[in-house]
Symmetry: C2
């Protein structure tokens, strides 16, 4: 198959030709260079010519010249989980506002790469910087090369200074206080792999806060964020000798699994067991038992990641960011007063 020559759009030189000026003048005018004083008449002629020729600046040439690509790379671990989609959407919009485009890379869940493996995108100047969410707690060295602008979002990585996260501890406190308010004294946290930073932060916060409030806490780690995995954990909870009276769940998929396991075990929600989700989604309101959840500022986190990354790209100093957009508890019908233990 022959590569067909692309029909070229008008170049700067074409516009210059039409307007009868030098290309550099066109560049100055069209870019609104403030340091250059141009005669209004010339300026008008140039603008007219550009419009007439349907001029479009060539991003590649500009990028080569200025060594700025105008695009950002975003590595997400798994698009199947809606939280990444919301983060993505938030980042997409903020990037657009700031004149950047975003390339999404989805980590293969089977063959996860360490964050450092994506450096090449910057080194080959495909993107100006990276937003990474594929850090596991083990691999702390990460994208150590300071020449590669990057931030870790939602999951911390590296040695700090490039992390953009939400206030997971706050979310956990919100849930636990809600539980306390309804008289629960023994709760479970059903969440993902302990190697995942978000999970680790939630667990730590839960332990601390439960200790403070004298609440019993049971932590269950699913091996992966799937319905099946949540289902298995749910069976475990339902069959335990001293089951908790409230269960908080880390992801939507796991929640569906848990619900199914409880239903099967004839554990009624919320009569026998209250349930809270850390993922808010519209669909929760329409389930057989509408599920109470914490609405986390995901889009804001995506946007904040873009801001932080652009800050690094522009030479800003390393600085961790915690998105403090207020979280809210969306009260639905899956939480009831705790029943006295038998």
């Amino acid at each position: 198959m022959e590569a067909v020559p692309r029909r070229r759009t008008a170049r700067l030189a074409d516009v210059a030709g039409i307007a009868g000026v030098h290309p550099s003048t066109v560049s100055r005018v069209l870019n609104g260079d403030p340091s250059a004083a141009v005669r209004p008449e010339t300026s008008k002629r140039i603008h007219d010519a550009a419009r007439q020729a349907h001029y479009r600046p060539n991003t590649m040439a500009r990028a080569l010249r200025g060594s700025r690509t105008g695009s950002l790379g975003m590595v997400v671990p798994m698009l199947r989980n809606p939280i990444w989609v919301r983060l993505q959407a938030g980042a997409l919009h903020r990037a657009q506002e700031r004149g950047y485009v975003v390339m999404i890379i989805e980590e293969s869940p089977d063959a996860p790469h360490p964050a450092v493996d994506y450096r090449y995108l910057v080194e080959e100047s495909r993107v100006d910087g990276l937003m990474l969410a594929n850090a596991l707690r083990g691999q702390r060295s990460a994208v150590s090369d300071p020449g590669v602008a990057h931030v870790f979002f939602n999951r911390r990585g590296g040695r700090g200074g490039n992390n953009v996260v939400m206030d997971e501890a706050g979310a956990v406190r919100l849930v636990i206080e809600h539980a306390v308010e309804y008289g629960h004294r023994s709760i479970a946290l059903l969440d993902g792999d302990s190697e995942v930073d978000t999970v680790a932060r939630r667990v730590r916060a839960a332990r601390a806060h439960c200790a403070r409030r004298g609440i019993e806490l049971q932590v269950l780690h699913c091996t992966d964020p799937t319905e099946e995995s949540g289902y298995l954990a749910g069976q475990q909870i339902a069959s335990s000798l001293q089951p908790p009276t409230l269960c908080a769940v880390g992801s939507l998929n796991q929640l569906f699994g848990l619900r199914a396991a409880l239903r099967e075990a004839k554990v009624s929600v919320p009569r026998d067991m209250s349930v809270v989700s850390f993922d808010e989604d519209e669909c929760l309101a329409y389930l057989d038992v509408p599920v109470t959840s914490v609405s986390m500022p995901l889009a804001e986190l995506g946007a904040a990641s873009v801001d932080a990354l652009l800050d690094r790209i522009n030479g800003g100093a390393a600085r961790d960011v915690v998105v403090r957009t207020p979280m809210t508890l969306v009260r639905r019908e899956s939480v009831a007063r705790a029943r006295r233990r038998p």
Copy 2:
């Protein structure tokens, strides 16, 4: 804030310097130019030098030179709906396999742009071509400019020749045959806006096939693909004088809404009403009543879109594509034998 000069990676010239050869030779060797016979020893020296200098080709320079960016633009209408996410993931992976990267643009649902508005991405050579899913049935002219390589995926657009779609009619037949098998004679199709191409195709196929089989068909169009909208339609169905005995639903969100409406109206599924979804998702298996669905080849469609677009970019002739990956009916528990009408 000062823009910091990016630490440059080694260039071709640097490698040439180390290896003691001319840059063009390095280019030939590193690109494995078959027409150029190079002395093995020189080749080795060059490869060593490249490794030593940690050489990375500069994508921008290459793009400028070859007028190929190596990236594709993908415009999706709404990431909230999981089908677009699956299409996106399929496209992402195929693009990666073929050495391309993808930039995702999410259409703002509030301010939809006609497809033609994304031409600038190609004209400014940010991408080599466009995959568009934001076509509405009205705007047929679309990206008329033949200089802009593009395909419409999942939703047809333009004047044909650039469409990549699934066999929606086949999916509809699958569902209707399933309904017939269970003795249903009156069914409803609850789907999105009639201006959406996918919806229009499903409706047409449903009308045709129902007529052929002597089945009564009632079509309900939701204004938008949300739970709320499905809920409203569900109320309408539940309260109708001659309710259908089976309801097929176009999207997951609408399905959740419908389920809630039926539950509220004390219409039991599947006893009083059978339900089938055109979106397959793992979570369907874990609902209070596991929902039967059609599993559509979404990832394949995403991949096929990339293939079709690259074909156009490489000068291939216009050609519509229908992805014929076999669809399967995922039988769960939301379909039962039709009850005799009262």
